[in-house]
Each structure stands twice: as structure tokens, then as C-alpha cells.
Symmetry: C2
Subunit: 288 residues, 2 copies
């Protein structure tokens, strides 16, 4: 049984810090070192007894059995190129928590060419919290965690999953292409729609200069994820452009289909579209 005794986490934002909490809970004797460009992220987690020591990237990486890359995606790609140049421990597993996988798997190729194991990972966490101060052991409970394997062995992957048991994750294995399309459809597109919808409705209501009353549940629900972090989502939208534009075009087709039926008063078509959405959405609920 492989034991991952020392872990280095690069990036102690919401996810990196939560991963530290999970691993410390799973295996208190496992050493966790970390680096973050904001020193206070690390000192907070050290003070909390979750991270054992702050280190620089090269030191942390060279001493670790498990390296978790938890910066934004561009930082993860940079780190992967750096790791390809370093002397790492034999049998080390390098993994990440970034939201896109095709880009990251490509960036991991030099590393994998050197025989180092790489496993792509992506926990689907709530999007509008950021920072280690919001990290929680149960942040990802009953959330999906996608695994997109490069070249890690089954036993190594199992050893990693064993360290994540306290998180109560739902693991799914996908290819990089499947992952990116799925995330584009189920996360990126809804965020884009929420931003655009919010920017449609709220300025219009403001201009009406009336008491609009208490916001309804439907208004709050459809726009909730517009509270997502603009920095993080600008980075996502610019790095995942092709997939996202394709999704927007599909959404435009459905919107136009419904708009057309309304404009020509095709009640049967309107009802069919609404019924299809109603049925599909109710089916989705059963999965939770």
C-alpha cells in the first residue's frame, strides 16, 4: 500500500487550504508544507495546525510524495513546467485542482515524459467564495471531484483518494475533452448567463425609480452566481474561450427557438419546450 507521507500544496486559496484540512483530517501524521504568494494565507493555516511549514516551491516540491497544484490555471501550467526541471522524489504523484484539464494535461507532458506521475483533478466547489479564510473541511461534501488521469498508476490514485476520504467527495473519471466540455456546459455557461441576466435586469429596474419590492426567489436563484469573483471568472472566460463560445451559440439557439415560438404565438411549440425543460430539470434533482 502506497503511503503519501509528505504533501506539498502550492497555493493556499479556498481549494488549496480546504485540501490541506481534508488531508490533515485523513492522516494527522502526514506532513503538509505549503507556499502561497500571500504570506498571511500560509501563516493562518500554520497557526491553525493544518499546515506544518511554509516553504518555497522548489524545496516543497523536492521533499514531497504528493504535490498539489492549487493556484489559478495559468500558475498550474507554469508550475508543471518548473517541476519538469526539478529533482523530485521517486514515486511522487503530482496533481492539481484546476478548472480546465486539456490545457493542464498538455502542460504536464514534459513532466510525464520524465516518468513522473501526473493525475489531473478538479473539485466542483461553490464559486463565489475565495480565500483560505473560507476553507472548510466539509466545503466539498457531496460535491463532484473529477479525475482526469495522465499516467498515474491505479494504486497511486487510490492512495491519493484515501487521503480525501473525510471530504465525502463523489469521484468521476473523465477524459480531458469530456471534462472541459462538461464544465463548459454546466458551469461556465450558467455563469455567463447569470452575469448577462443580472446586467439586464438590475439597471432596468433601477431606471424605473419605483419600489420594486422584495426580490423573488426566481430572480435571486437565476442571478445568484453573478456574485462570483470577477478576477477568477475573467481568467476562466479568457482561457476557455473556444468551448464557451460554442456553448453560448447552443444557448442562443434555444433562446431563439423559444423567442420565435412566442413571437408567432405557437402555443404548442412553447408548451413542448417548457415541458421538456420541466421534465429535464426535475430529473436533475433526483441526482442530489
Amino acid at each position: 500500500m502506497i503511503k503519501l507521507k509528505s504533501v506539498f500544496i502550492n497555493g493556499l486559496g479556498l481549494i488549496g487550504a480546504t485540501m490541506a484540512r481534508i488531508i490533515k483530517a485523513a492522516s494527522p501524521t502526514t506532513t503538509i508544507t505549503a507556499f502561497d504568494s500571500k504570506q498571511e494565507n500560509v501563516t493562518t493555516m500554520v497557526a491553525a495546525g493544518v499546515v506544518d511549514q511554509t516553504v518555497d516551491f522548489a524545496t516543497g516540491a523536492s521533499q514531497a510524495d504528493l504535490i498539489i497544484l492549487a493556484t489559478p490555471v495559468s500558475g498550474i501550467c507554469e508550475s508543471l513546467h518548473q517541476l519538469a526541471q526539478l529533482d523530485l522524489k521517486p514515486g511522487v504523484l503530482v496533481t492539481d485542482v484546476g478548472s480546465s484539464k486539456e490545457t493542464i494535461l498538455r502542460a504536464a507532458e514534459p513532466l510525464m515524459d520524465r516518468g513522473v506521475q501526473f493525475l489531473g483533478g478538479h473539485p466542483m466547489a461553490g464559486s463565489h467564495l475565495t480565500g483560505s479564510q473560507n476553507s472548510r473541511l466539509d466545503l466539498l461534501a457531496n460535491h463532484s471531484f473529477f479525475l482526469v488521469n495522465g499516467n498515474a498508476s491505479p494504486t497511486t490514485i487510490k492512495a491519493y483518494q484515501a487521503l480525501l476520504v473525510p471530504a465525502q467527495l463523489h469521484f468521476s473519471a473523465l477524459t480531458a475533452e469530456q471534462h472541459d466540455q462538461l464544465v463548459s456546459a454546466t458551469s461556465h455557461l450558467p455563469h455567463m448567463v447569470a452575469f448577462a441576466l443580472t446586467n439586464t435586469i438590475i439597471p432596468e429596474v433601477d431606471d424605473m425609480a419605483i419600489d420594486p419590492g422584495i426580490p423573488s426567489g426566481g430572480l435571486l436563484d437565476t442571478t445568484r452566481i453573478a456574485k462570483a469573483d470577477p478576477d477568477m471568472w475573467t481568467a476562466i472566460f479568457t482561457s476557455e474561450r473556444a468551448d464557451l463560445l460554442a456553448q453560448i451559440d447552443q444557448f442562443q439557439k434555444q433562446l431563439t427557438r423559444l423567442r420565435t415560438a412566442i413571437s408567432v404565438d405557437d402555443q404548442e411549440s412553447i408548451h413542448d419546450q417548457l415541458q421538456a425543460a420541466n421534465t429535464a430539470r426535475r430529473r436533475l434533482e433526483d441526482k442530489r
Copy 2:
């Protein structure tokens, strides 16, 4: 002080039945009669001690101090024309709970021309529940109730609001045009977007034939109101066509604005739009 001693409710669906519960709680000695085309809706509410007696429309209307029209909008308009032909009690207040007000105020004109008081009303309830079996005293707690007055006197309106105290409503007075624009923007457009978004994402994910994992909060939130009743919403979309098409066009503008910025990699514009949405959406939260 005006007392509304006998109430007739036409239509005992979710809202009609909830109004009955509220009024019975406010004034147990007030007589509540009702009519519904589904006999079991009435017998259920009579058995529950909320409605005192089932009557036909003409009898109920002629005996009432307060008439609440709680069928779908087309039914409300029909009822208003019928009421213009009936002998009603002196000082009676006729009101409704329909989701559009310009159409209904127009239909109330013959009635108002006869000197009968009409007050338009619209409680903003959750949209995916239907039927008297889902009626609850607290269904509308902390929800908006819009008042669009025709010709009711201030004291009559106050007497009506006194019967609604147990509901803990937030009343706002608007013109019919303001009401319809507000509802179009904050309710009809989000529903349309949720339907189209659901019909984009779920068939696409189904086609991928993978384990998509646990639906994320963002996916569930942006599509939740796609569970709304297709019959009710087909009726709304076809009766409120002009307002809705105008809203869709505004939404398309914002969507295109964001799509364009993404396609040309204008990071500053993307960030500005996301920041604007973030700020506006956070401000909305403070109102609850």
C-alpha cells in the same frame, strides 16, 4: 371603519386557497364562500374549515363585500365582464391576484364605469407549486404584493389590507404599466432564460454519455425555475408577448456584449461587466 364581512373567492388554486387561509386567520367570523371548476379543491378547503361554503359564481359574487378573482388571467378578464352585468352589494370591492395588470385593468373598465370599486393585486409567490393542496398561511411571508389601483377608496383598500395582515406581505403600489414592466423583467425573463438554459445543458450532457457527477449549486440555481408549470407559463408567455420580447432583446444585448468581449479577448471589458454584475447582485441581497 369598513368591514368586509363576507368574501367570495373565484378559483381555489395555490393563491386563491392561500388567500382564504390568510383571511380566515385574520378574521374567523368573516364568511368565505368559493367556487372552483375542480370540486375537490373546494371540498378540501371546506373540510379544512377555511372555506365556509361552495357556491356558483353569480351567487357568491352577489352576496360578497369582497370578491377575489383568483383564476388564470384570461379567466379573471372574463369574470370582470360578467361582474359588470350582475347586481352586486353596495360598496363591494372587487380585486384579483393575476400576474398581469394592464390587461386586467382594461377588462375592469366596464365594471368601474358602473361605479364598482376595483383594486388590482398581484402576490409574487413561488412559481413551481400549484394547487390548493400546496396552499399555506405563510406561503407569501416576506413576499411582495403589488397593488395597482383602479378606483378603490383609500379606506376600502385599508380594510382589504387589514384582512391580509397574517400573511406578512410587503405591499408596493404601482401603475399597471410599471407593474407589467417590472414583472416582465424580474420574473418572465428569468423564467424564459431558465427554460432555454435547461434545454441547452441537459440534452447536451445526456448526449455525452458520461457520469456527469453531482449537479453543482450554480447549475441547480440557474435552472431551478424551469420546474415551473408549463401550462401556466405558456399562458403567461402568450399573453405578455410584447413586454417579454422587449426583455429578451435587452438580454440578448447583454449576452452579445459579453460574448463579443470574450471572443476578442478584451479582458478589461469582461472584467468590467462581471464586476458590474457582482456589485449589482450583492446589492440585491441586502433587500431581503
